[in-house]
Amino acid sequence: MSRVALLRLAVVVGFVAVVELLCRLGVITPLTMIPPSAMLLSLVHLIADGEVNADLVFTLTNIAAAITLSIVSGFILGVIIHALPRLRRVVDPLLAAYYAVPTFVFYPLLLVVLGVNRLPLIVIGAMFGVVGMTVSTIDGIDRIPRVLMKTASAYDMNPITAALLIKLPAATPHLFTGVKLAVTYSVIGVVAGEFILSIAGMGRSIAFAYNDLDNTKMYGLLLLLLTITTLLNVALQLIEQRLYKRWGRA
């Protein structure tokens, strides 16, 4: 491990240790936060009891679906917008302003259209991630060397084949920014949706634990969610590093 990584780890461990100390000393009351060690213990119990398994599977399935939907639709939209310069000129400012729109305002509409089930959660998660992926795709295709597109023409590829065989792999290092955004936003969208919809999932469990003032369970669930998203991001980071190394990009 590099010196910088060690320092980074030390900062995190130090922060956790300080919070632990403050909680143990009563500076932070148990009603506000429980000690990190208690959170870990709660997480272990929750997993061992199997109490959250169904909610965990529900949430992870929704997140996986939202991520897939946002990445695939974001890529397709990006390819189409890039291929149509006039459309791009029209939608560019809209894409730039997209995240200024509180996507959750569409939640009631989604419930009416899609029903009270997991679909609105998946769609809201995907809506959060799709534009990040679209913008990254447009940017990634912009960066593809022109010679590769000439090569695609030399192989007489149609636009779809060129998108799949040349544009997608050539733009992959740049698409990773979009993928990471899609993952993060999808998690936020799905979990936040579960808070509101309250039919099932980690979001609902956290909300219920909060309403019951069950801080031990709530922080255990939060830690579980945090661990999963961190592992997801670390996995993405490793894949990205491996790709960059293989493809010779810094």
């Binding site: 010679v147 030399a154 007489d156 293989r246 493809w247």
Partner: protein
């Protein structure tokens, strides 16, 4: 050094059209439309070109004279504003036909594929039998001296080796016409000479017709049977010189006195055009 037959003075005279043509271009004029809606930029002006089967033809000219445009039109990648190009008797209409292979100046290797998979790319697109793909790719990889790097990725190779990957990817499709757009432009002089030898070997062994676009007088004189010299923009052929080199040749011919005569003849034709191009900001 190999023995080089010394061409006569007549060989530097304009050559006559050749029968049994692989590529024929008639009255090619190309105008790039102006983004501002102005008159546009005329890149080529009434270019005629005939390449005989198995011939090695080099095109040389000042920067911005339309050499690469001519190559893209000759390949079918681009449709000319006026005139037409035919390959083996069939008129090209904005599509690269089977039998034409192109190697670009820039690195066009696929960074996400190994050397072997890069070379196999075109064959897989054509759904060639896997055993045949293996045979042809192994041959092309070995032919370009890349057998020790077949599982490497382009980022792990030098610029010259990446260009060899691109040549192997073209070679494996067994093109009858190979179009090379300044393929050694980014390489150092020694590597260029060696790569030139590779291309000569490729040309001899495949029997393909080759058209090479280059900025280098030496490269054009060393590699080609004929050298077409283009004017400053709008490009047209102001002269075509035959080199008279034997088919069995290598970079050793640069030491032949005739080589100097050829490059001097080319430069005397090019100098005024290059100065015109420079004054316009083309170089």
């Amino acid at each position: 050094m190999m023995a080089v037959a010394r061409p006569s003075e007549a060989d530097v005279e304009p050559s006559a059209p050749i029968a049994g043509a692989t590529l024929g271009a008639e009255g090619i004029t190309h105008v790039f439309a102006s983004a501002a809606g102005g008159p546009g930029v005329k890149a080529l002006d009434n270019v005629d070109l005939t390449l005989a089967r198995g011939e090695f033809f080099s095109v040389i000219g000042p920067s911005g004279c339309g050499k690469s445009t001519l190559l893209e039109i000759a390949s079918g990648l681009m449709v000319p504003t006026e005139g037409q190009v035919s390959f083996e008797g069939n008129v090209l209409r904005g599509k690269v036909p089977d039998g034409i292979g192109i190697v670009f100046q820039e690195d066009a290797s696929f960074a996400w594929l190994s050397v072997w998979d890069n070379v196999a790319f075109g064959l897989r697109r054509r759904s060639v039998d896997p055993a045949e793909i293996r045979r042809r790719v192994d041959y092309a990889v070995a032919f370009m001296g890349l057998q020790d790097f077949s599982q490497s990725y382009p980022a792990q190779l030098s610029g010259g080796m990446r260009q060899r990957v691109c040549i192997a990817r073209t070679l494996v499709l067994q093109p009858r016409l190979i179009l090379l757009d300044e393929p050694f432009g980014a390489l150092d002089q020694q590597t260029r000479l060696l790569m030139g030898e590779e291309v000569l070997r490729l040309w001899r062994e495949t029997g393909a017709t080759v058209m090479l676009i280059t900025h280098s007088l030496d490269e054009a004189a060393m590699l080609a049977d004929r050298v077409g010299i283009m004017s400053a923009r709008p490009g047209r052929f102001i002269e075509t010189l035959s080199t008279g080199w034997p088919r069995e040749r290598d970079s050793g011919i640069v030491a032949d006195p005739r080589f100097g005569e050829l490059t001097a003849a080319m430069w005397s034709l090019l100098r005024a055009e290059s100065m015109r191009s420079m004054r316009r900001g083309g170089a």
